[in-house]
């Protein structure tokens, strides 16, 4: 789901309702104003035919009435709209009680995600795919590593910028389980349009299962091809940017790949996570996302195949 009108969470719902109210009221006001304008244009001819002073006075008094009532109505409408906005903002900005905290750092052009926890060994790092339990408020702590990005899951919440050197917060609450997508909403460079976000709202039990699985180190390779793939991973350029917990690879300038195979998409939500796409992405990312930071990694076909198998095994 990817729509600001078709909402799936109370916060997006509130924003959508506010938007509907404003649109409706402004539409009505617009129609009235246009109607009156047309009427005024037509009526001008009739006014010119009035002869006496007295008749003109009556007409003026009528006009003053109308203006007074229209002004009063406008003020009333503005106060109503203002108050609606105030109440919605108050609700949106109230810090949630006991939220699940998730730290999101924006990069060109991917999302770094870290789940906070008072016990440091229970913290968890992943990228691009966010999982949250339904019904529980999730507080996102947003910052950026390079330029200004903006976090937007239209069906769940409003936009909030990720600004380098600054920390913003946003709250997500999902009503029901489902898959929701979003994307970067502040122009951040060549691949801004392909900096997508995927949200899985899981039931609390499913979320806990996912969380426990993500806390495990990277799965040990089971076959020779997978072992060869891991050797390719650790001996070529991959380890300069990526990490797989349980190996020596612990670089953080690129997405964490410890559980890459558990994600439905790669390249920040733009490509389905299939072995073919993975291989194509590793060989030449610029064919799909020109301007992305990941360089082309030309590998002999056997090595590429083994590497893809290894990555596909990292559930």
């Amino acid at each position: 789901m990817h729509s600001a009108i078709n909402t799936a969470g109370p916060r997006a719902h509130e924003i959508a309702e506010l938007m509907t109210l404003f649109t409706a009221v402004c539409a009505v006001v617009y129609l009235i104003v246009i109607g009156v304008l047309i009427w005024a244009l037509l009526r001008k001819r009739a006014r010119a035919r009035l002869a006496s002073e007295a008749e003109r006075e009556i007409a003026d008094r009528k006009a003053r009435h109308v203006i007074t009532w229209a002004t009063a109505l406008t003020v009333l409408i503005l106060i109503t709209l203002g108050l609606s906005d105030f109440f919605v903002q108050r609700s949106l900005f109230t810090p949630p009680k006991d939220p699940l905290r998730v730290l999101i750092t924006g990069h060109q052009y991917w999302w770094e995600i870290e789940y906070d926890h008072p016990d440091p060994s229970q913290r968890l790092r992943t990228a691009n795919e966010l999982h949250i339990p339904t019904g529980k408020p999730v507080e996102l702590v947003l910052t950026s590593r390079d330029v200004i990005h903006s976090f937007w899951l239209p069906s769940i919440s409003g936009k909030k910028d990720l600004i380098p050197g600054r920390v913003n917060t946003e709250v997500l609450i999902a009503d029901k389980p489902g898959l929701y997508t979003g994307q970067c909403a502040e122009f951040c460079g060549l691949q801004h349009a392909k900096m997508r976000l995927v949200l899985h709202a899981d039931s609390p039990e499913d979320f806990e299962k996912w969380r426990q699985q993500q806390l495990q180190p990277g799965r040990e390779p089971a076959t020779d091809t997978e072992r060869r793939g891991r050797t390719v991973f650790t001996s070529t350029s991959c380890v300069l940017c990526h990490s797989v917990q349980g190996t020596d690879a612990s670089a953080t300038v690129g997405p964490d790949l410890t559980h890459i195979a558990s994600r439905g998409t790669i390249a920040a939500g733009t490509l389905p996570n299939t072995p073919d796409n993975l291989a194509a992405w590793i060989l030449a990312p610029h064919r799909m996302k020109p301007g992305v930071q990941m360089p082309a990694t030309p590998l002999p076909p056997d090595d590429l195949g083994a590497l893809t198998k290894y990555l596909a095994s990292l559930q």
Partner: protein, 593 residues
């Protein structure tokens, strides 16, 4: 008649045995004064010489007896080691061991031993390619090489006895510390906290070089050698596998806590004391949690390595305040009774007095200006950190005092049991710091901080302080232009020696701090001065000159001071050092005429 003679014989033998024992003990004690078998002087790390020949009255006439050029240009941090007639020096990379014959005029070279460490190890030495010295025990000389080997060499003729490859330079691990030999075990630790190395202390059998035990500084209890004997004083150190749980994910594998500093030993309690270095990376946001067991002090049983207690000076350290500084074993009267303690001037600028039986902090007093920590809570043992000075990604924190090198870095202090003062060579420095995310690539630096250093209040960069440990205050203090990066030596004659980075080797009165004598060496002094009685019976004072080390990198490495962050932030601070001294390793030995 036979019975009577038989009864007399045992008594005579016993008397003779006792006499012999007394004579040999005194002889050994006398012998001990003729020697300086380990850089710290003794197990307690006092760096105190019992020789009394040189006094404040006559030190003015101290003159150069002989010198020896090592032929090398990097920082010379070692202490010369002396046995009855031989002096041993370990140089910076390539870690040549020179043996000089003290019983011949001019102390000619007897032999040299070249371990030939790998040249690439120079690329993983964070703070110059230094070595802090060798140790002598039972006819063997032990020292470490930059590429992570511990070597044992015959003290007589220099032939190699064994070598053990302990460190892996491909993961940024090196070795620079001076070993300590306790009960036939050679205790050695690694370096590399700035490379994401996992710290350890290893005990090797002095005869064979085989590993007896290894205690890691992070990770599960089984690897940190924490077992049922572990009884830390403070509750924050209690729990299982804290070396894993106080780190996110597997960050403890790259967590630092290296053991590159000083080890002291109390034979009475049979405990060794040593500190662990900073957690890695410097950027604290990448490792939330207390980061056990870094930046703290361990008390261990030297036979098995089992930890008896631990105290963390700086939980979740965010300032590179390593815990590796010396723990000087002394007995102090506190609150009306004698306590077994040690004195520890920490990087964080506080001088700790710690009960060495239990690990309780009895006092912690700042010996420099500190604005990163407001006080140490003696009930919990935790430092109260100043929020404004906490490094945060995306922000530049200004004027953090003391700087990353601390109120005092590795340079060891000396204790005089006569004056009851601790003579501390140190610095007065602050810094501006910006932490950034560090990217881990094995074998490359893993720091995540941009640093700019500057002098603290007063403008003088160095200090030499005489500290009354019992009273918790400075008795006298000498300001120096450059950080005092050399070790200190205290003598029973009442003279204290230290060296400056411009090259002045100074003798000051132990009670008043008055400058009594000085000598301008060829290069800045960052070595550890020692004293010994030569074969001719005279008292000699020896020190290595040869500027470098972390503070002197701008000269040793020929750095460009236009980048003030050169050398981890020393570049801008020490841009005038090249005008004051050049490179060049030289041993200087002095005596009275």
């Amino acid at each position: 008649m036979h019975a009577g003679r038989q009864r007399r014989l045992p008594r005579v033998t016993a008397l003779l045995a006792i006499l012999f024992a007394i004579v040999s003990v005194t002889a050994l004690a006398e012998d001990r004064d003729a020697q300086w078998p380990m850089p710290a002087g003794d197990f307690a790390n006092t760096r105190f010489s019992r020789l009394e020949e040189v006094t404040p009255a006559n030190v003015g006439s101290l003159k150069l007896s002989f010198s020896f050029s090592t032929g090398l240009l990097r920082g010379h941090e070692a202490a010369p080691i002396v046995t009855t007639d031989t002096m041993y020096i370990v140089t910076p990379y390539p870690n040549v061991l020179f043996a000089l014959a003290l019983d011949k005029p001019g102390a000619p070279l007897k032999w040299k031993y070249e371990p030939k460490p790998r040249a690439s190890s120079q690329g993983v030495a964070c703070c110059d390619t230094v070595n802090r010295g060798a140790a002598y025990d039972a006819g063997r000389i032990f020292f470490n090489t930059l590429d992570g080997q511990t070597v044992a060499v015959d003290a007589n003729d220099g032939h190699e006895l064994w070598r053990a490859q302990l460190g892996d330079i491909t993961h940024g691990e090196s070795m620079t510390m001076a070993p300590l030999v306790v009960k036939d075990k050679v205790l050695v630790g690694n370096s590399g906290g700035e490379f994401g190395v996992r710290g350890w202390l290893t005990a090797l059998d002095a005869r064979t070089g085989h590993q007896v035990w290894r205690a890691y500084s992070t990770g599960p209890d089984s690897e940190v050698l924490i077992g049922k004997d572990f009884k830390p004083f403070y509750s924050q150190e209690r729990g299982t596998d804290l070396g894993v749980k106080s780190w996110p994910g597997d960050a403890w594998k790259r967590g630092g806590g290296t053991v590159w500093g000083w080890i002291s030993y109390d034979p009475g309690l049979n405990l060794i004391f040593y500190g662990t270095a900073n957690p890695g990376p410097w950027n604290p946001e990448q490792r939330p949690g207390d980061n056990k067991w870094t930046a703290g002090v361990f008390a261990r049983d030297p036979d098995t390595g089992a930890a008896k207690w631990f105290y963390q000076y700086n939980p979740h350290d965010s300032n590179d305040y390593d815990g590796v500084n010396e723990n000087v074993v002394i007995d102090l009267e506190i609150g009306g009774r004698m306590r077994k303690v040690f004195a520890h001037p920490d990087r964080n600028g506080y001088l700790y007095v710690v009960d060495r039986e239990t690990g309780e902090v009895l006092s912690a007093t700042p010996f420099v200006n500190v604005n990163t920590i407001s006080s140490i809570d003696l009930k919990t043992g935790r430092p109260n950190r100043v929020q404004d000075k906490e490094p945060v990604v995306g922000r530049v924190i200004r004027n953090m005092c003391p700087h990353a090198g601390g109120g005092k870095d590795w340079q060891p202090s000396a204790w005089s049991p006569i004056t009851r003062l601790l003579y501390i060579p140190h610095q007065n420095l602050c810094q501006d710091e910006e932490v950034v995310p560090a990217n881990y690539i094995a074998g490359t630096p893993y720091v995540g901080a941009n640093v700019k250093m500057h002098a603290g209040e007063g403008g003088h960069r160095g200090l030499f302080t005489a500290w009354d440990v019992a009273a918790g205050r400075a008795v006298w203090q000498i300001k120096e232009n450059f950080p005092v990066w050399s070790g200190a030596l205290a003598t029973a004659g009442g003279v204290v020696f230290y060296g400056t980075m411009e090259g002045w080797f100074k003798a000051v009165d132990a009670r008043t701090g008055k400058l009594l004598w000085q000598f301008k060496a060829g290069s800045g002094i960052i070595g550890q001065p020692i004293s010994y009685r030569g074969p001719d019976g005279k008292q000699y004072i020896a020190v290595l000159s040869g500027v470098g080390g972390w503070a002197g990198g701008i000269v040793a490495g020929n750095l460009d001071a236009r980048d003030v962050s050169a050398g981890n932030g020393w570049g801008g601070l020490m841009s005038d050092l090249p005008d004051n001294t050049r490179q060049g390793g030289m041993l200087y030995v002095f005596a009275l005429p």
